[in-house]
Symmetry: D2
Subunit: 164 residues, 4 copies
């Protein structure tokens, strides 16, 4: 898949963001998470229920984080969380029972406290696009119940690594 | 809640849409669907998992349709469907175990083949906003597997009624 | 519905249980929780997916507890939990999209640390039986991570009330 | 894991079953399906919600069938289904966020029209047992809406193969 087609318009990074993160948090590659449609994913129409996609998108995100050295469960134990604060999805074509597909995700950009992730769910041969969208997270300090202006150190470090 | 604050910028209705639907498909009032947070709605953080909201939003939509005389199961039996094609949500504040809230929805506007529904999930006293968003549906002819340029007659009729 | 048909064979209450609970934890009536089948409850077969019933059974149980003065979220805040440790279900007939039914539940008996709940999911006119089963809970002390030999005082008190 | 511990008491196969199936539908080995606990699997208690296990058990069953040459989606297209009619589970120990485990399943026996599957969910080193249980299916002719006295030919053939 061409990266060009996916590129989001570059937001001019402000001084503030540079100071906060000191990184260009844009991964250059999609992380790929394969899925198969089982009965419990479907609805009466024989296709995947629209909310089911969120379980796969979350799984892809967590496994992507693991692949760059961030264990989400550990992060939670340390007192952090990365809750979803925004969601924008387009359902292009339905997946039906028994079909296989690839959930592609990448951390697209960090704007202030918002961490944007891009998604595409495609057929294995990349010829079919089933879903495209963006999920936005923030870092939360669980004890304080407050959004953090900085990423937790372990996350930041992992991201600095992939951004170089 | 002020209706004004919720009003979406009015799209100029094109001639084509006027001919297709002969209605101003904007309901003036929110349909209210009360919910309570049970254990299966929550995740490890003790709050509602972000995908759970979609089950409540769907329930509110189906019950709203029923309230204006459209039985969704009957519609499906007649060979129609109203699948979700777009989704845009903002999570303002989390709901946690045991909390009660109201899912508010209204059919906001019909633009071409797209039927837009607006949503707000609020506390019963309307003082807290948990989620706001928009869900977009199309009418599908199940046998043909094609998006319909016109709403199914029974749906259209019910909508004409509420729009007067 | 006849209570007779539902009655489980009476276990002879042991001395130990008498001492522990000092109550006959058998409610005489079913608690009724009405449900409607929405799209997200169904699977490719157009009927309710077999796991969906557990969400309704949980909801019925929590609302039953609320009806006898036990707020489950409050119980959790106090450091207790009532996790499911056993499950036995029979699916007699499927519910399909748009159908309404009643989830009936009652606390059937307490045997040692096990709290057994009986379930029936029936049509509103009680002519159709969709599911029957039993769910078994224990009381858990969250901080200690241990099964409690006695129910939390607030739960016990509420149960003593209904058992008289 | 010792097979002995898992062996269910052998029901004497009736003449009818012999004629119907002409096979000893007992696989000798567990099929293993690895899982990881993601946020959407958990509830407020930080552990897997009791209904979530059913999604994994279904996935393991479908993938097991695929491994012996039965494509479940194809079976559905041919007009058959294998709905769950009985369920009996014991929750021994909870799985929590981030944990990995193995869902083990095998077709245990066929008794009349009932196909019994045994399950164990264990840690990767088999030292911890999280869940054990049995799920019972029947073969359904979708068009007729009737339980089939014989398995669909393709399923039967695959099973005869593994039973030798």
């Amino acid at each position: 898949m061409s990266q060009k087609a996916q590129k989001k318009p570059e937001l001019p990074p402000t001084q503030a963001i540079e100071q906060d993160f000191d990184l260009r948090a844009k991964t250059q590659n999609w992380f790929e998470y394969p899925i198969v449609v089982h009965p419990h994913h479907t609805d009466y129409a024989g296709v995947v229920w629209h909310g089911t996609y969120l379980t796969w998108m979350e799984a892809a995100r967590i496994e992507y984080l693991r692949s760059i050295g961030i264990d989400y469960a550990e992060l939670v134990n340390l007192g952090y969380e990365l809750p979803v604060v925004e969601l924008a999805l387009r359902y292009h074509k339905p997946l039906s029972l028994g079909m296989e597909a690839i959930v592609k995700t990448m951390m697209a950009e960090i704007v202030g406290v918002r961490i944007h992730w891009d998604y595409r769910i495609e057929s294995r041969d990349t010829q079919e696009l089933y879903l495209s969208g963006r999920v936005t997270l923030v870092s939360l300090d669980r004890a304080a119940g407050k959004i953090m202006r900085q990423l937790p150190p372990s996350v930041k470090e992992a991201m600095v690594k992939i951004s170089r």
